[in-house]
Symmetry: D2
């Protein structure tokens, strides 16, 4: 039986025509990392529907490990997320026009779930490969956090499947007209996600490394 | 019987000689806001001890409402925090020399607690008063988040006592030698916390306003 | 005969309804600093006209020292400018609707003029007073730089009159609705300009202090 | 007779072990751009000596066009510089240990020289190629500005040789351990400098495009 890594990316949103998360997932589709094969899946940038499609993909693929990717304008690094919180609070409308404010993602669900991927080991591996990386303490409150929370809620009783989320910088072609906006080319982002996935496969227990924030 | 608001601030840390959070709390000590009197309490910037002293103060004062304040270098605004997470991950040592990495604050505690203060109403009130303010999605992973999580854990079964945390910018005298570092004078910070507390007293249900982050 | 300091500020521009530079100048009007009296003058945010009105004010007041103030959104500090360059390159229209691109301010004028105010001493004095301050290496290419260049061109042969420019942060009420935007209240800005003017009066030769930028 | 473009880069400095400017120059050495061949030259990060070696290279190569490259930590884009100013003001020591404060580069030289390269056309070409780019209004006051000013002073009477300076972001391997620091991989930087040089060859008159700064 084939061992699989499910790697998701999003449709473009917020006026962009591309989204690095889907381009990266697509680029790694079919690659073997550790002893598992990457299966890429595209998700709509739509509250609710994105989580349903992720759930269907998990059911269909029965992966060992799930990493959802998303775009974070303004960030200069690849940032594995530490925690997903139980709230939708949308600063802009999603691709279906919905803009929830302060809604629970799962009614009576826990306030948050921690990633079950080794975020410190992933950051260390990416830095060693020369790719800018840092642990992030917040995945925001838009569709990215929504999917991340939905994923961890889905996996809460399946101890054998680990999951998490990573935000990616803009691509240079997205940042080209926006002075001061950091970016990182696709090849670099693909390389980063590849070694991060390898580290996630290799480390069931995370490394004892710093990665906190003062506030 | 006197109705009380407990307002805490921290000792200076990280090489600073002052901490705006304690100066602000001190400045408001004894003021009547709504129909409650502010009681200021200083906390050490020490993991564990800070929470114990806060717990003792809550027991002694029996406040209606608790707002813990902390300093956040790099922020330009007063930022009510939305959520506290169950992890200590210290980038620097605390004032007693401890530097925990990825330790749970409460073993088997929930991953997070949401603030029970109306963060949107507090931000709206501060902005109306001309004080820069924004909702924050992360209180970091140092002593500030530690105290915030400890507070919400302590209050988890006391529905009558509401609590939360707010980060404050540096004071101009702290930022004076650090190019590019934002700051806000004490008078402005005091004014902001005053109207934020009044809004917290007035709004048991938060306002339906935006304040999310994309990622 | 009265000794005078001419202190100018601008009208609001770019969608703002106030401009800290004029509020600060107004607040200091009539004050005696060193042995000179501050005379405040408001300038329109209009290419050409701003310089003509400044020239008329210099002719009328015959000041010892001229400091022009302007607003710089995004800056966290009071920033004395080191150099004015001979180009108008407007990212937005001025208050009269003009938007020059890459036009010389003075045809065949020198590429730049250095401030004749002691920018290092001014920064040192402001920091000592607890006001965030830093030397700036660029006054931009909008009306602020235009007025600064025009002033230094006007003073180029009058060795007895010294002149310069300082940018000011936004006021908190301007920044209140703009997440992440630094600001500084009026009282602090007034205090900073006051001690900077005193330092400018006291130091004909600038202090030998750092204040450079790597690039 | 061969037509040449002289492209310079610097040694590593400030604790770094590599410098993108020299890696980019080296990568383009020997390439034909327009109808000219790129000649790469490494410069020491040393006040005085860097300019002397550049002068010798200009004398030896007799190029049509000179572009000096330098590293600018903190910038997210490739930034052609508009203007060089006549001052050395070093925040750190150069590679020979010198740290001049507020010294004229050329005694009695003009306050500044504008680039004679078409900075707007260069930015437009890089953006079209998907490389983040913006005009910069300041080259700082360290060895980069020193070399840029020295170059323009050297070329001031040679109307046939055009020259300028461009700052480059850090490479990802330099930024990997520095949270929040933007970077751009070498391949992207090389691609950007290539199209910028092509645009500089093609446009003797700059394009009429925006690229100013408010302040």
């Amino acid at each position: 039986m084939t061992r699989r890594i499910l790697l998701t990316g999003f449709d473009a949103f917020g006026g962009e025509v591309i989204n690095p998360s889907w381009l990266v997932a697509q680029a790694l589709h079919g690659e073997v990392i550790g002893d598992a094969t990457v299966v890429a899946q595209r998700l709509p940038c739509v509250f609710g529907q994105a989580s349903s499609e992720l759930q269907a993909a998990v059911a269909a693929q029965r992966p060992l490990l799930v990493l959802a990717l998303g775009q974070a304008a303004g960030r200069a690094e690849l940032t594995p997320e530490r925690v997903a919180i139980n709230v939708d609070d949308a600063r802009i409308a999603d691709n279906a026009g919905a803009q929830p404010l302060d809604c629970a993602i799962v009614a009576r669900g826990p306030a948050a779930y921690f990633s079950t991927l080794p975020v410190k080991a992933m950051v260390a591996a990416m830095r060693q490969a020369g790719v800018p990386a840092a642990v992030s303490q917040t995945a925001g409150t838009f569709v990215c956090n929504h999917v991340f929370y939905g994923l961890m809620h889905m996996l809460r009783r399946r101890r054998t499947v680990r999951g998490g989320f990573m935000h990616l910088p803009l691509l240079p072609e997205q940042a080209a007209g926006k002075p001061g906006q950091p970016s990182l080319p696709l090849a670099q982002q693909v390389a980063g996600v590849r070694v991060a996935l390898a580290a996630a496969c290799a480390h069931r227990i995370d490394l004892h490394l710093g990665g906190g924030a003062l506030g």
